[in-house]
């Protein structure tokens, strides 16, 4: 889907300071060299299987299916990966690539902390230095993940600028990269930023849809009718969609964080409320005011609390290949509780956005139809925040 300039339709590109241009050019050259290298792929597959626990399960959610009374529901269990989320797929790929490039230090941004934990994990495994930028607001919402990162040997830098959330962590990581490039790889956590990141991250996450396709073929002998995933920057969603993009019969549905609703200012639903812009290295859709100032966004989910969306999603939206629907905090919290009680699975609050939308559409679909929901991460990290949302003050 990518053209040589890193465009997805009109989206993407490389809108970054000149200081970083040679760094992304070198990254692209290294990636193009290693992506088809048998030795690199053997090492990565071994890390995926032996270390991260792949392939992740495709689980038939029988109770949920019966309860909703419509389409048959499968859960793609990325929450069972090592470190508890899909983020490890991308991080192992990028860390291995960085190591091959001779880099000794990884920097990363993180929202919910899942990408930060995954990066700190890979850095520990590969003997690399690691610095993670995290919005100060998020360090409070996700204190447990801050501790995990430090335990893994990473330095966590709370970012106090702007809204002190994910977008500010991305800005600060980009600033840090411009000051130290030679030994440092910026391990970007989603399918966003300047080319080649949206392509690299997608390729490492595409293992999700590759497995879904194969696993569902074994279990049902057919393709799913819909694949549903949550979208912030959009890495687990593009990973879940990628190998189905050419199959027009498969509905691809991305669930955006609507926060308190898309008719309020407290939302992070980029496709539903944003407009075209240029930010964080890419052309895409962004929540912004009439003068192009990036809007403060809000979601209960720190991992979806981002004012933009990856350029490939923006393109899939433009051409009508994927649908992007808003899911509110309240719907996500209800789905979080529902999946826990119905299937004994506590999903990340991010993933609960996808579960919530499946709960809306499954009853309207036929019993012979199949929905796959990607459970991008596990929800342990969210328990304290959800308890607070329900008025219960628990301390971690």
């Amino acid at each position: 889907m990518t053209n040589p300039n890193g465009r997805f339709g009109i989206h993407g590109g490389q809108y970054i300071p000149e200081t970083l241009m040679n760094a992304v050019i070198e990254l692209e050259a290294a990636y193009n060299h290693y992506k088809d290298d048998p030795e690199f792929n053997r090492e990565l597959t071994q890390l995926f299987n032996e270390y991260a626990g792949r392939p992740s399960r495709l689980y038939y959610a029988e109770k949920m299916t019966k309860d909703l009374g419509g389409a048959k529901i499968y859960l793609k269990r990325e929450d069972l990966n090592h470190t508890g989320a899909h983020k490890i797929n991308n991080v192992l790929g990028q860390a291995l690539l960085a190591k091959k490039m001779g880099k000794t230090r990884l920097i990363a941004e993180t929202g919910a902390g899942q990408h930060g934990v995954a990066t700190a994990t890979a850095a520990a495994l590969m003997g690399m230095e690691c610095v993670v930028f995290m919005g100060e607001e998020d360090t409070k919402r996700q204190a447990l993940n801050v501790y995990r990162m430090r335990l893994l040997g990473a330095e966590v830098i709370p970012v106090k600028t702007g809204t002190a959330t994910l977008k500010d962590a991305v800005s600060e990581a980009m600033r840090e990269w411009t000051s130290r490039i030679d030994d440092t790889h910026y391990c970007l956590g989603s399918v966003m930023g300047p080319h080649p990141f949206p392509t690299i991250v997608r390729d490492f996450q595409a293992v999700i849809s590759k497995e879904i396709r194969q696993q569902l073929k074994e279990k049902e002998g057919r393709l799913p009718d819909a694949v549903i995933a949550c979208v912030g920057g959009g890495s687990n969603a593009i990973g879940s969609f990628y190998h189905f993009i050419g199959d027009e019969s498969v509905r691809l549905i991305g669930c955006e964080a609507a926060g308190r609703g898309i008719d309020t200012f407290e939302t992070a639903a980029t496709i539903n409320t944003g407009r075209l812009g240029i930010f964080h290295g890419m052309k895409s859709y962004f929540c912004q005011d009439e003068y192009g100032q990036i809007a403060p966004v809000y979601s209960i989910s720190a991992g979806l609390d981002y004012p933009g969306i990856g350029p490939e999603h923006a393109h899939l939206h433009d051409i009508g290949r994927a649908e992007y629907v808003p899911v509110t905090d309240d719907e996500a919290v209800c789905a979080f509780e529902y999946l826990a009680k119905t299937e004994g699975i506590i999903p990340a609050i991010e993933s609960a956005h996808a579960v919530a939308h499946a709960m809306k559409i499954a009853p309207e679909m036929g019993r012979d139809q199949i929905i796959v929901i990607t459970i991008s991460g596990r929800g342990d990290k969210d328990c304290a925040a959800i308890a607070r949302y329900r008025g219960e003050d628990i301390h971690e």
């Binding site: 800005s171 964080h280 192009g292």
Partner: protein, 257 residues
Amino acid sequence: MSRIREAFANGKAFIPFVTCGDPDLETTAAVVRACAENGADLIELGIPFSDPTAEGPVIQGANLRALTGGVTTDKIFDLVRDLRRDVTVPMVFMTYANVVYSYGAERFISTCRQIGIDGLILPDLPYEEKDEFLPLCRQYGVDLISLIAPTSRNRIAMIAKEAEGFIYVVSSLGVTGTRSEIKTDLASIVEVIRGSTDVPCAIGFGISTPEQARKMASVADGAIVGSAIIKILEKHGADAAPYVGEYVKSMKDAVRG
């Protein structure tokens, strides 16, 4: 030849930067006039952006103060219209791609022409993406300024050959902000630039003292200073104009050579 070349006709150029609307537009107007009266050869006017990824803490702070104070692109256009009644020094806007894109590139760039803005510096618009705005800049006679960084290496000649107005040479890695020492081998970068174009080049990022400015200007055609001026504004607020004027005079004296 655009008016920007005139900025390099009075010996080595001194180029101050100020964020519009920090702390308010009246102060910006007074500061710009003080810069012009005290020998600034070209003035960079910053249009604040919510997420200025190329800026260090000092200019980030100025952006935040300006936006909190309610400054908008339209109000800054009005400021320039007012300044152009008496200020003849070349002026360029420094902002981020989304501020231009979101306003409507043609609407933004044609307004620049109409109000007397000579050039546009967009730190997040590298060589590879300049076609986003270059055709419109050419159409309306606004120079799109190219930046060259310590990491540009094999890219210097390519960028310099197509440069217009002046070349902004970034002195150091990292973001804007004062530095005690600048270690980059700028003379070799400037040498490659001079072999590729006769467009003048000015060095910015990290310069604050007359001594540093003199050194930078001796290597190139001028020196650019931002954060050090914003610090004067931080300290003196609405009364900053005479202090900025005094500082600009000392810096121009230092670079004149």
